[in-house]
């Protein structure tokens, strides 16, 4: 028995008449946002936005603390954690002092503004306008006793983890 390995002929970009090999294109990213701190809210939102800007489908699933990102009463007051965060270069004891977290959060908001990165609320609206799909996690909603009405209007639905995977068929899944 002999087996031969045939190298697949590189695909060419459809219809453009080009003959350079085409790299596998990402068509869809599905991002699980599980943290509710300001510094962990932005990566998911910015990545989803960058995906949409490049013509890639984006699905966001907000679970556990990540629910705060889409909860009306919380999303404008997300904080950076100053305790247990070595990257902050603030001694843990000092980070725990009253007002430190607010101070650090205000400073981060200012820095983001300088880079022309919009506040979380505006990011969510932008993602909605860009056609990104946003879902709350049903189990986390039950756990935190939140109703769909507690979430921003741009959230498409509250779904289970299994529903999330159904909606993520063929997507690259990121956990943040």
């Amino acid at each position: 028995m002999s087996s031969t390995v045939t190298l697949e002929k590189p695909q060419t970009a459809a219809g453009s008449g080009e003959d350079r090999p085409r790299r596998q294109r990402i068509e869809h990213v599905s991002i699980i946002c599980s943290k509710g701190t300001l510094d962990m809210a932005y990566p998911g939102l910015i990545l989803a936005n960058a995906a949409r800007m490049s013509g890639i489908d984006a699905t966001l699933f907000f679970t556990f603390w990540g629910l705060d990102i889409i909860t009306e009463k919380r999303l404008d007051h997300l904080h950076v954690s100053t305790v247990g965060n070595p990257s902050m270069h603030i001694p843990t004891m000092v980070g725990g002092l009253p007002g430190m977290e607010s101070l650090a959060s205000t400073m981060m908001r200012k820095e983001m503004e300088k880079l022309d990165i919009p506040p979380v609320r505006e990011m969510l609206e932008m993602l909605h306008d860009a056609g990104a799909k946003m879902y709350g996690c049903r189990m986390a909603m039950d756990m935190f006793k939140r109703e769909k009405e507690d979430l921003v209007p741009w959230v498409d639905d509250v779904i289970s983890a299994m529903d999330f995977f159904d909606k993520s068929q063929g997507a690259q899944v990121l956990f943040i």
Binding site: I46, M53, G55, M126
Partner: protein, 105 residues
Amino acid sequence: MEAINYAGQTVEVNDEGFLTNSEHWTPEVAGAIAEEVGIGPLTDEHWKVITFCREDAAQQGTPPGLRRISKLSGVNMKDLYRLFPKGPGKLAARISGLPKPQGCI
């Protein structure tokens, strides 16, 4: 880098299809790129975006990001995605003959 003929004009583009010299851009080139990426004939709304992008890039020295376009061009975010469905962040700049924007927003 390769030379491509757009609407009877030969222009150099990089690996991602962006013009390497925005001086070589003409409205006809824009129309030909739009055809190539499946947008079809450019409408007045497209031109509003393209004109803004070129003017803004000339003033700022860098191509505008999508949020900037939506805030200043008079075409909102939803419409930008309707006009350039396969990724307005890149396509608006590419059709305008500008480099790929560096910002994430």
